[in-house]
């Protein structure tokens, strides 16, 4: 579960704080577990909620929402083929990928995790984070772009002969 918490936090210390809060909730709410799903999944949801609570309680900067920026970002992200090419030849460790997620700004990280990894839709994400769906979409696109950039930087650092344009 610490792996889940680390994805939502900027560092291990915060992740352990979140996991601590999550476990307290697990212990105190265990009677509410209905066995409708797996216990692991139930605990994971609690950890995610704890991460969201932690994010919202420490929110220093609200989402920067600008329609023109959304359009701009959406246009810039409209190159799925490049992602295919990029991902196909990657051999990056899980630890490095975790670092990339953690290095994302808080809002990017939250939305990317919820959408890309937990498979929430934008409507649910907007509800969970208290933002609009458009903001959720913007944050997701920016997160993908930032991650793609980090991956490319890593590849360049490793002298991979590849020319990409973002």
């Amino acid at each position: 579960m610490l792996g889940v918490c680390m994805r939502y936090c900027k560092n291990r210390i915060d992740a352990e704080d979140v996991m601590q809060d999550g476990f307290i909730k697990v212990f105190t709410q265990i009677h509410k577990f209905r066995r409708e799903g797996s216990l692991e999944g139930w605990i994971k949801r609690i950890m995610i909620n704890a991460a969201i609570d932690n994010y919202q309680s420490n929110l220093k900067y609200s989402f920067h929402e600008d329609v023109s920026e959304i359009v701009q970002s959406a246009v810039m992200d409209d190159h799925p083929d490049e992602d295919d090419d990029l991902a196909d030849e990657l051999n990056i460790s899980r630890e490095k990928l975790m670092e990339m997620i953690q290095e994302l700004p808080d809002g990017y990280r939250m939305v990317f995790n919820l959408y890309a990894i937990e498979s929430y839709n934008h409507k649910d994400i907007a509800s969970l984070l208290g933002i609009s769906e458009n903001t959720s979409k913007t944050q997701l696109l920016k997160a993908r772009k930032a991650l793609r950039k980090k991956i490319e930087a890593l590849l360049q650092h490793n002298h991979v002969n590849r020319v990409t344009t973002i």
Partner: protein, 446 residues
């Protein structure tokens, strides 16, 4: 349904099942948060109260029911007289014999001074013909013979001889004497000098409420005690204290004074605030990646912006708790009053003071376990201990004399610090914890 994206897939596949081992400190913090140490434990207080109640009930639990007759007698109506009670050691084998012909095997007697009613409301039997005693040979009995010698006029001696071909001493002697009640002898009937039994006054016969010959002898005693206790700090939670002491008691009547020397070792929580800082993302700024100028409208510039996270050194802190140990030399001084002393048991209430000198302390250092952070400093939250302390002590001692010289003692005790246990520290209120525990020990009565 989410739109499929390779970046998403890459991270989803990598992060699915990705496990990271939590630190030991995390489990410790979870345990502490979920099972926080309570600064108030009712069970400790309840246990102390129950011990006090049990100790108070012990005399009634241990003393056999027939001993209840030893409670304070009530003076009967009528004229009280002093006299002597002459009893056989086997009274069940002695039978009244109005015809003076009963063959009685007993021959031993005890004589002791008593008080009795001159005119009993319900006299047992005929006062003019009460049986006194029997003996096989008067010359062998040191007690009855002088009586017979001095009071021949009042006695009727008859010898009922049973045929015994072997020994003359198988013959039985039966003595009779006039008395007011069975077994009671009017002192006017004979000389107390001859009897050589101690005189007992009417006052002393009734005044002792709970006589105990064992305890009456024990005026000086020495003992060793083991003293497990719980110290209730504020705001720190309760902690254990173990102590042992050697004490001397000096008792005058029901009052006693106790002193000695002891050693105690107590725990306390040492809280430390660990200040550290980490490089955290505190926000972002918008970086201009490129811009374009619309040739058709030169006044309109379109910027392409990127967010760049801003990192800064952010201070954090955690509270680390350590268990400290402090050792003391204790000197108690207490005064007691024995308000119940019956048979082999006693109950004594005591109160006094205890002076303690700190002789050793063990305060473990805090280990800074966060690897990717920079330690700023460690602040001690709990002030340092005082080197000396005064405590008020009170207890209720239950004693059980299991031999004439040795007695076992169990005493629920309460102690209240008179002086603060911590040194003065700005912003920290002086704390005077209290202690509940049990003092158990053995005592030798000189």
């Amino acid at each position: 349904m989410n739109t499929r994206n390779k970046i998403d897939d890459l991270f989803r596949e990598a992060m699915t099942g990705y496990q990271v081992e939590p630190s030991i400190g995390l489990w410790r913090r979870i345990e502490r948060r979920f099972f926080p140490p309570s600064k108030y434990r009712p069970s400790g207080l309840i246990t102390s109260i129950l011990l006090l109640i049990v100790a108070g009930l012990m005399p009634w639990i241990l003393i056999p029911a027939n001993d209840q007759a030893e409670k304070e007698p009530t003076l009967p109506a009528g004229n009280i007289r002093e006299g002597y009670l002459i009893q056989s050691d086997n009274p069940e084998q002695i039978h009244q014999n109005r015809n003076y012909k009963t063959d009685l095997p007993e021959r031993t007697f005890s004589i002791k001074p008593v008080v009795y009613l001159e005119n009993p409301v319900d006299p047992a039997g005929d006062p003019s013909a009460q049986f006194l005693a029997s003996i096989t040979d008067p010359s062998e009995d040191p007690a009855i013979f002088p009586i017979l010698s001095a009071n021949q006029v009042d006695y009727t001696l008859s010898l009922e001889r049973e045929p015994d071909p072997v020994s003359f001493y198988a013959d039985k002697w039966l003595y009779r004497m006039p008395s007011l009640r069975s077994g009671l002898m009017d002192p006017g009937s004979f000389s107390t000098d001859i009897l050589s039994v101690p005189h007992i006054s009417l006052t002393s016969a009734f005044s002792p409420k709970y006589e105990n010959d064992y305890f009456r002898k024990a005026e000086i005693s020495a003992g060793i005690n083991f003293n497990p206790s719980i110290v209730f700090y504020d705001p720190n939670p309760y902690n254990k204290m173990l102590g042992a002491e050697a004490v001397i008691h000096y008792k005058i009547s029901a009052f006693s004074i106790m002193s000695g020397i002891g050693f105690s070792r107590m725990e306390d929580i040492g809280s430390y605030q660990v200040n550290y800082k980490t490089k955290d993302s505190v926000g972002f700024y918008l970086r201009v990646v490129s811009f374009t100028v619309d040739p058709r409208n030169p006044g309109q510039i379109t910027y392409v912006l990127e967010e760049e996270p801003i990192y800064d050194s952010v201070p954090h802190y955690i509270i680390e708790d350590k268990t400290n140990y402090y050792s003391y030399i204790d000197i108690p001084l207490a005064f007691g009053y024995t308000f119940l002393q019956k048979s082999r048991v006693s109950l004594t209430a005591s109160a006094g003071v205890k002076f303690s000198v700190l002789v050793d302390k063990q305060e473990p250092t805090v280990d800074f376990w966060i690897s990717d952070a920079e330690l700023i400093d460690i602040e001690r939250q709990v002030p340092a201990r005082m080197n000396t302390n005064w405590r008020f002590i009170a207890g209720l001692d239950f004693g059980y004399l299991f031999t004439e010289k040795f007695s076992l003692h169990l005493e629920p005790v309460f102690e209240q610090y008179i002086s603060p246990v911590y040194a003065k520290q700005p912003g920290y209120k002086p704390r005077k914890p209290y202690v509940t525990g049990v003092r158990a020990g053995i005592r030798y009565n000189f």
